[in-house]
């Protein structure tokens, strides 16, 4: 079997992986960056909207443009980039199985940074297996990457930022969004995103859910019911909308398969999307030499994914001796300050608290490890 070796292997070329690879390479390390897609950028490549965050995170720039900029920097830095390549497994000795260009290879690296992102949650209801029911992310890929409209009349389930942004992009692509349905009594995402939909005349049904979808050959009708305080449908409250597409935007969960396989310890933190790998302030997991960054460590956003990527890149390069302790410490302090600024305010505070919980659990894991030794 062909062997591919590198000092640092970065799995996943979303904003986190791209930034990790760039930082590590700029410090002087030999880096290979791997992504299963033909285009690197992860989630960025289907984001046609202008990004939130601060100017230093390229806010106001459209997502795909951020991806292109980062990619150009990574290519110029001299890091190796393997696209259309899947890391399908990792052994306890940290050797990895890699499928690239149709060939099964062994990937060996001294340090590994996993930046595999997140995947969409699913929610079942009668009719949820009909053609026309899809994840909001899938709809977004269809309209923005493949330029195919998934349907003419869409019901969006979920009012978090993903549901709101994808609804807006469906309108821009020429579909009608006939309803945003949300189980909670309030809108989950940013008010400004919801405001765009309201101005376009999209109705919101808060405290409602889909009770069923039906149609002969696919979704044709969507029945919606009001929920009581205990989230049970209120009998008699049902009404029906004509729609041919249902998009589910009911959350994301970290894509942690590789991290589990490597034997890392996890914690269950709902605010971060479910089971998340423990990591320290260097983004290193309970498995030495294995780092994580971005949505895989807990679902947040591109700006925080970029910062976590940089942290992991700096820490891995430092561990290999490419950065002295002082230089690394300075860089890490700058990154942490930016992360703290991102994790504040109405929507960020909860994430900051959740991240602190995760770091504290890591601390305990390291301490009990010491006791065993």
């Amino acid at each position: 079997m062909r062997k591919i070796t590198a000092e640092i292997a970065v799995v996943g070329a979303g904003p986190a992986g791209l930034c990790a690879a760039l930082e590590a390479r700029l410090a002087g390390a030999d880096v290979v960056l791997i992504d299963e897609n033909r285009l690197p950028g992860g989630q960025l490549f289907k984001q046609i909207h202008k990004f939130f965050g601060s100017k230093e995170h390229r806010a106001g720039v459209r997502g795909f443009a951020i991806g292109q900029e980062l990619l150009a920097q990574v290519s110029d830095s001299g890091a190796r980039v393997l696209l259309d390549s899947l890391v399908y497994g990792i052994q306890p000795d940290k050797s990895m199985g890699l499928l690239t260009a149709g060939e099964n290879c062994l990937l060996l690296a001294e340090k590994i940074i996993i930046a595999s992102g997140a995947k969409e949650n699913y929610t079942p209801f009668p009719g949820s297996t009909l053609p026309g029911v899809m994840g909001a992310g899938a709809a977004q890929t269809m309209i923005n990457v493949n330029r195919v409209l998934p349907g003419a009349r869409v019901v969006m389930v979920g009012s978090g930022n993903v549901g709101l942004i994808v609804s807006y992009q469906l309108l821009q692509a020429g579909a009608e969004v006939v309803a945003v349905v949300e189980g909670a009594p309030r809108i989950g995402g940013y008010g400004v995103h919801a405001g765009k939909l309201r101005r376009a005349g999209v109705p919101f049904y808060l405290g409602h859910t889909i009770s069923r979808a039906y149609g002969d050959d696919g979704v044709r009708h969507v029945e919606i019911a009001r929920l009581d305080e205990r989230w049970n449908p209120v009998p008699g409250s049902e009404f029906t909308l004509d729609a041919d597409t249902i998009c589910l935007a009911v959350g994301l969960n970290p894509m942690t398969e590789l991290v589990w396989m490597a034997g890392c310890q996890f914690d269950y933190i709902p605010a971060l999307g479910g089971h998340v790998p423990l990591h320290d302030r260097n983004m290193e997991t309970t498995v030495r030499g294995l780092y994580v960054a971005g949505d895989v460590t807990g679902v947040e956003e591109a700006s925080s994914a970029m910062e976590e990527g940089k942290l992991a890149g700096v820490a891995a390069a430092e561990a290999l001796g490419y950065l002295d302790a002082r230089a690394a410490k300075e860089k890490k302090a700058e990154i942490e300050a930016r992360l703290n600024r991102l994790r504040s305010g109405l929507f960020g505070e909860k994430r900051r608290e959740a991240k602190e919980t995760q770091l504290a659990a890591m601390q305990r894991a390291r301490e009990s490890e010491k006791e065993v030794v």
Partner: protein, 173 residues
């Protein structure tokens, strides 16, 4: 339905009254000025760096609400196009004795043409009145967002925030 942006997607009267991004009535009467309807603490600041005149301040704390200095604002309109929340409009209540203009970001095709009559719509997407299109601005600096300027009776200037989307033509698809 309870009032307020988290329940409706529309800032309530109280939220707007407390919002530091809204200029005074006197400032709007004097001419073009940015109206920043951004009432939630979200981590966002492109409006601040968009403004060359230093009229928008958020500061070190990224989640602080944008604060408008109506005296510094020239109504140039760059922030309208660069706000990812599409939360900023330019209002000019000095346009004529009876009419005001409202400039808003518009990201749907087809775009209207200058001189067209369109439906001016409220924050809730309801038609408020017919309106004439004064200008459709597209600049490379706007990064793909068009800014449409329409004139409406001044009585509606605080209510109108967009226009109804136009039917799609074959060539837009």
């Amino acid at each position: 339905m309870p009032e307020g942006v988290v329940y409706t997607g529309i800032p309530s009267r109280e939220e707007l009254a407390a919002c530091p991004g809204i200029p005074t009535e006197a400032r709007m009467a004097r001419g073009r000025v940015a109206v920043i309807e951004c009432v939630q603490e979200i981590p966002c600041n492109p409006c601040e760096s968009a403004c060359r005149f230093g009229a928008i301040e958020i500061g070190e704390q990224l989640t602080a609400l944008p604060r408008l200095d109506g005296e510094k604002c020239t109504g140039c309109g760059l922030c309208v196009a660069l706000c990812p929340g599409l939360a900023i409009t330019i209002v000019d209540k000095s346009f004529s004795a009876t009419e005001s203009t409202v400039d808003f970001p518009f990201e749907y095709l087809p775009l209207p043409g200058e001189g067209d009559t369109v439906d001016a719509c409220s924050r809730a997407g309801e038609t408020v009145c017919p309106a004439r299109v004064v200008a459709v601005k597209k600049s490379p600096a706007y990064a793909g967002t068009a800014v449409v300027s329409i004139r409406v009776p001044t009585a509606f200037a605080d209510e109108v925030r967009t226009m109804r989307r136009l039917p799609r033509r074959e060539e837009d698809i």
